[in-house]
Amino acid sequence: MLTYVLFALVVGSIYALLAQSLMLSWGLAGLVNLGLAGFFALGAYASATSTTWGHVPVPVGIALAVVAAAAAGFVVCVSTLRLRDDYLAIVTLGFAEVVRIVASNEVWLTGGTDGISGVPVLVPRSAGLGFHAGTLAIVAVAVAIVYALQRRLLLSPWGRALRAIREDQIVAAVAGKSVVRFKAEAFCLACAIAGLAGALYGHYTSYVAPDQFQPLVSIYIFLAVTAGGKARPAGPVVGAYALVAFLEATRFAGELIPGVSPVQAAALREILVGLGLLVVLGLRPEGLLPERSQKAPAP
């Protein structure tokens, strides 16, 4: 039971990193990244291939993952940022699918649908509970660092400019802000965080394969961020842990309903997740932790 709880907390922390990524792009800059799973995958692959096959140390692999995801983020957003935000949503959705297709078919580069097993771990697996606890400590530190960074960013002139752009980009542009540059910076930074999440996930499960990065993961993260609150650094973190608790709780709910077949129970579980998202969006769109209104800085 303790292993299960530790495991769920590690997964929750990985989800928290993804949620932090989404909070930065969506909550602060208003950029909807439906291809979160793609950047998650890119990070996982960059670190898994370089450490497993290239034998570079794990920290270097993680750094590569962050850089690769940020670079991909730049390529994806640069052609769409000048357009309406809807384009970015659809283009990123497609990007995630392209990542999956390339990962499945370019066997020489990614191991194909077989995936990469035996990815080096952060803490020796032989440590038993210590493996889960140690990994949890590392991933939680990553979440805490991103949280601290986001708090600072939010209060910095950069963060204020970003929110001004989100509220009204024409006014912001008139005020002399380079809208596209701010948005691109926020998007790349967000993608870097997703890449970090991917690298850590691969080093925890020791396995990376295309099937891990399905669009469903992006939907889960949207649920986490909406539930927690998308404009405050604590929101996505709270939302992600709540989401994992909710996802795991639905398993037990399914067992309580008599007379449904396993496939119907599985369908009900996903219906519950979808309904959960709709209800939160409808009843409390600002999430559990709504945005704090900020005083204008003293003149």
Binding site: W26, G30, V32, L34, S79, T80, R82, L83, R84, D85, D86, Y87, A89, I90, V91, L93, G94, F95, E97, V98, I101, V102, S104, N105, L216, I219, F222, L223, T226, V263, Q264, A266, A267, L268, E270, I271, V273, G274, L275, L277, L278, L281, G282, P285
Partner: protein, 287 residues
């Protein structure tokens, strides 16, 4: 040369199947100004409704297509009225994310009711015939004809009826339309019905051509988006042109690159179009 002509013919047929749901998506986008990610699941719902009408009640194919359209349309209205409409306060992106959740719910409602098993319409399968150097299937031609007829009907509805003209007015300028006494709520609901019904028809046509399972709509989802984006998102003729472009591009991928890279090519097309014509082939300039 025959090879190229054949791929072109195949692309036109699959493009026509994409065009119908792409029209639905663009209509909803043009009037309600949000990307509806539930169109894939609405297509699945329509396909299952049509299939039930055909196999359980023995409805002929055209009637079944009508049933699929009606059920998908009503489902779309129900979604809009019960869930999505109230999310509009938070902006169009909230509705988009809500539609993503709705897609997940609809797919699993179908799964709950019908299971995951493969189903097919109760129809014999016709062999292809040669038209000059090109091989075409009679049923594919029928599908193409239905798709073209639906597109023509949508065009006629938009340009000849007062409701259709109201829809275009709201799409062009909602404030001006309101001043002229057009009820935005009525227009929204009619648009959602028409858009969702078009998705239902698209799903049914795919189900007729292939077979159906709860993921059938999801399979065409990305291609439909690609078609709509290439066409300019809110342009009705653009969606049709985009659908044919994407359909043909996907078939040529099989010849020129590798069949597995079909969707990657769709998105390469999007990148190219957006880089050179940011508003899509026939869309309006970015606002």
């Amino acid at each position: 040369m025959e090879i190229v002509l054949q791929a072109l013919a195949n692309g036109i047929v699959s493009g026509s199947l994409l065009a119908v749901p792409a029209l639905g998506f663009s209509a909803i986008f043009a009037v309600l100004r949000y990307p509806n990610f539930a169109i894939g699941s609405l297509a699945t719902v329509g396909a299952y409704a049509a299939w039930s009408a055909n196999t359980a009640f023995g409805a002929p194919v055209l009637v079944a297509i009508g049933a699929g359209a009606a059920v998908a349309g009503l489902t779309g209205i129900a979604l809009e009225a019960v869930a999505l409409d109230r999310l509009g306060r938070g902006g169009p992106l909230m509705k988009a994310i809500g539609s993503l959740a709705a897609a997940m719910i609809l797919e699993n409602v179908v799964r709950f009711g019908f299971g995951n098993d493969l189903h097919a319409f109760d129809l014999p399968l016709a062999r292809d015939v040669m038209v000059g150097p090109v091989r075409v299937g009679p049923q594919q031609l029928a599908g193409l004809a239905v798709a073209l007829a639906v597109m023509a009907a949508v065009w006629a509805f938009l340009s000849l009826t007062s409701l259709g003209r109201s829809m275009r007015a709201v799409a062009d300028n909602p404030d001006l339309a309101r001043l002229k006494g057009v009820s935005p709520r009525l227009v929204s609901l009619v648009t959602v019905f028409v858009g969702a019904a078009l998705c239902g028809i698209g799903g049914t046509l795919v189900g007729l051509d292939a077979s159906l399972d709860p993921l059938v709509g999801g399979r065409i989802l990305l291609s439909v988006f690609a078609a709509a984006v290439v066409g300019g998102l809110d342009s009705i003729p653009g969606a049709v042109a985009g659908a044919f472009l994407i359909g043909i591009a996907e078939e040529f991928t099989v010849l020129a690159l590798a069949p597995a890279y079909r969707l990657a090519v769709s998105f390469a097309v999007i990148f190219l179009v957006l880089s050179f014509r940011p508003a899509g082939i026939l869309g309006r300039a970015a606002r």
